[in-house]
Symmetry: C2
């Protein structure tokens, strides 16, 4: 059995014989022996293999090892005399499993740009930074489940293929069976597309199970080539029955702090890489967000602040507009200098399902803004009153008969309920400091780009 | 703050004042008071509310409560004198939150057929059996993550929209932007579809991170209206570097036993419902599977057994055929009477990526069969030798240039690796004993059926 290098670094079993397996990152020769740095993906650090010329295949194979070759090594763990590493492996046998021709292998010892690596998504997890992203992403995903499951939330797999459109038509992908020629019958009997949000269906389960959450892929057929947009991304959407906007804000804040604390503890080594090479000061910033309650103002207060601050914005501010990124970042980064929840947005700029406040003009919506990123969470209390909801839907031009199932939730045992959405890739960007969202998902899908 | 009923049953805080919120399952009146059974989805059991005529709204509201109404109740927990329940709630105040008109509300106190409930997927989680399925499904999903994460596996979100086809064309759904007219440009620059398996892309990450797994939706545009097929379902696919068929079998067995033990402990109440009303003997059967090593024979041995058993099968047996359900069930239910792993299938009936054995005729594949269900897991060691893989792909009519990224994994640092796939809904069917797969996924998608 092979031992994971992560476990060796944790346990430091000096004197023991172990077997490891992984890929060569570098090799350098000294007098009569080679240092071979091997990585197995279990952690950022490489295990240094000391391979001396006494090995049977030293000249024929070990000295020919280059970046990317795969090896199995058996040997004895010993304390390393070198700086920066506690242990190394004195090889008793090095087996070359697979070669990687240095003439054609695209990854070499030098640092490659993320743009260059994006052209080979199938090799980039072999680099330090993208490997670290993969580990942090996996840990964050697990922490999401742990947070909700520890609190008694039921995970619901809402459908990927759907005939409902939560956010308004136009940006949905259409789904058809390959066999369908131009005018053939629809596979599902009607036009179907890829979900843009699991919210509406999550509400079905919240109104039966109480507290639920979804964590699944969502899609936008948007022709946006920016560092913050993907055509396919993962979203976390809790939905809570007997919950109002205040309860929604509380859970969202607790969740964000839980996730940050978890990843800072469990991915310390990877987080140091991001702090050193990707976004200096990152760890301090995340500790800051994780360690304090979030500030809170209403949209109307935010507009007043922006109007009276004397700053010239590119997009002029007035009550009724959607806040722009520059406004959000000014509020969270310069005014409050900490995470900020903005609530009670104008009804006219928000979707039909958000609960109308008593003023008749605003809705019980919330956005959470964080320094350096801007909006990371959006949510609301949902409109639980059948008559109000029907009126809002008609105003939005929605066919009530199509959404009869959704209205039934207000017809039978309706309750106040609330929920929010967290774009998982935005979260991974926030945690890792990666500038481009394409680096925080294994296989990014963007206009014109789906190579495998 | 509301307390979950599940927590009340666990903690039994007799004498304490609590608030609960949920939906009325039934109400019955006695002399001067009502028993109201309330369920909040946190567990199968209802909390019995004792509401007496002293309540201000007793005549006006409490006595009008019917199935499906939502209520908030504040009161004192006391020991119940009634049989079958340890505690009940003496109501100090009952607030009706939402009514459910008994004239039109489709769910009533009587038992409804699953076929009837399927016509209203948005209400069926409010029933005992479908609520129990939701809780068991959620727990199983969490246990899947726990199993792999505890063992150092990295979760990889493989793409949903893909331009590769793992299992062979024809049954894929095609994905296009809604705006695309008949002949317009493809959003991704080429024909794209919904994934049928994350395996090929999971291999990318296994060859960098060692041990990885995927847990995501997969799709088949198959015109199958059976109790075992869905157009959209979730699949668990681990992929392990430096792993052979024996290691693959070991992990698959450990995983299945871990999942069964976990759900038997954490969903005991729900499992009793399935054992009593859905599949008698279920719990005993699952304990049996969870408690023993799996049997193992090769495909060739299986064929010999089937040929010599003297039983007449509908599909005649000879070496080279794909085993049918009747053959599989005979082997696992009548010959071995426990879970059975069949390995080393004929190469001609298995996909290109499975590793060819030294005999040149068979591949290092495995299927796991369980009593009562048949095949639940399929996996293989993958072909890691570039030349052999290219030959197999050409024989299968695959364009090597299209799969250059996949072949690169064998070109650069190739290693033996293996993995398997577990259809999550088949697992939930196996665990709950539900006869039709449409009952174990929240929103089933089948030909002609995607109502929301």
């Amino acid at each position: 059995m092979h031992v994971k290098i992560r476990n060796l670094f944790e346990d430091q079993p000096v004197g023991e014989t172990v077997r490891v397996a992984g890929w060569v990152r570098t090799r350098r020769d000294a007098g009569g022996f080679s240092f071979v740095e091997v990585n197995d993906g279990s952690c950022l650090g490489n295990l240094q293999i000391l391979a001396d010329k006494g090995l049977a295949n030293y000249d024929a194979e070990v000295r020919r090892l280059t970046t990317g070759c795969s090896v199995e090594v058996e040997g004895v763990i010993r304390t390393s005399p070198a700086k920066g590493q506690a242990i190394e492996l004195q090889a008793g046998a090095v087996t070359v499993v697979g070669w990687a021709d240095p003439e054609t292998y695209p990854l070499q010892k030098k640092r490659h740009s993320f743009e260059f690596l994006r052209e080979m998504t199938h090799l980039r997890p072999r680099t330090n930074a993208l490997g670290a992203v993969a580990r942090v992403r996996s840990r964050l995903a697990y922490a999401v489940h742990a947070f909700f499951q520890e609190r008694g939330f039921i995970q619901v797999h809402t459908p990927i293929i759907t005939t409902s459109d939560c956010e308004g038509a136009g940006e949905m992908f259409q789904v058809r069976a390959m066999q369908q020629a131009g005018g053939a019958e629809e596979f599902f009997g009607r036009r179907a597309g890829l979900t843009v949000s699991g919210q509406l269906q999550a509400e079905v389960y919240a109104l039966a199970m109480g507290d639920v959450y979804t964590f699944g892929p969502t899609f936008r057929a948007e022709n946006s080539n920016t560092s913050r947009h993907l055509a396919e991304f993962w979203m976390i959407e809790p939905e809570m029955a007997f919950c109002d906007l205040a309860g929604n804000m509380r859970v969202a804040g607790e969740m964000l702090r839980y996730l940050l604390n978890d990843v800072l503890v469990h991915c310390a080594e990877d987080m140091e890489l991001f702090d050193r090479f990707i976004a200096q000061g990152l760890i301090g910033r995340l500790h800051g967000v994780a360690g304090q309650e979030f500030a809170h103002i209403t949209y109307s207060e935010a507009v007043e602040r922006l109007l009276s601050c004397g700053k010239a914005f590119e997009f002029p501010v007035q009550w009724g507009i959607d806040l722009q990124s520059e406004h959000e970042r000014y509020l969270t980064e310069e005014v409050f200098r900490r995470p900020l929840i903005v609530t009670d947005y104008p009804a006219a700029i928000k979707p039909f399902y958000m609960r109308v406040n008593d003023d008749g003009k605003t809705v019980a919506a919330m956005d959470i803004l964080v320094p350096g990123v801007g909006e990371i969470i959006g949510g609301s209390q949902r409109e639980e009153r059948l008559a109000v909801l029907e009126k809002r839907m008609l105003e939005a031009g929605i066919d009530l008969e199509e959404y009869r199932w959704y209205l039934d939730l207000r017809r039978y045992g309706s309750v106040p309920h609330a929920g929010f959405g967290l774009g998982f890739e935005r979260l991974v960007q926030f945690v890792t400091g990666m500038a481009n969202i394409r680096e925080v998902i294994p296989f990014p899908r963007t206009p014109g780009f789906a190579p495998c």
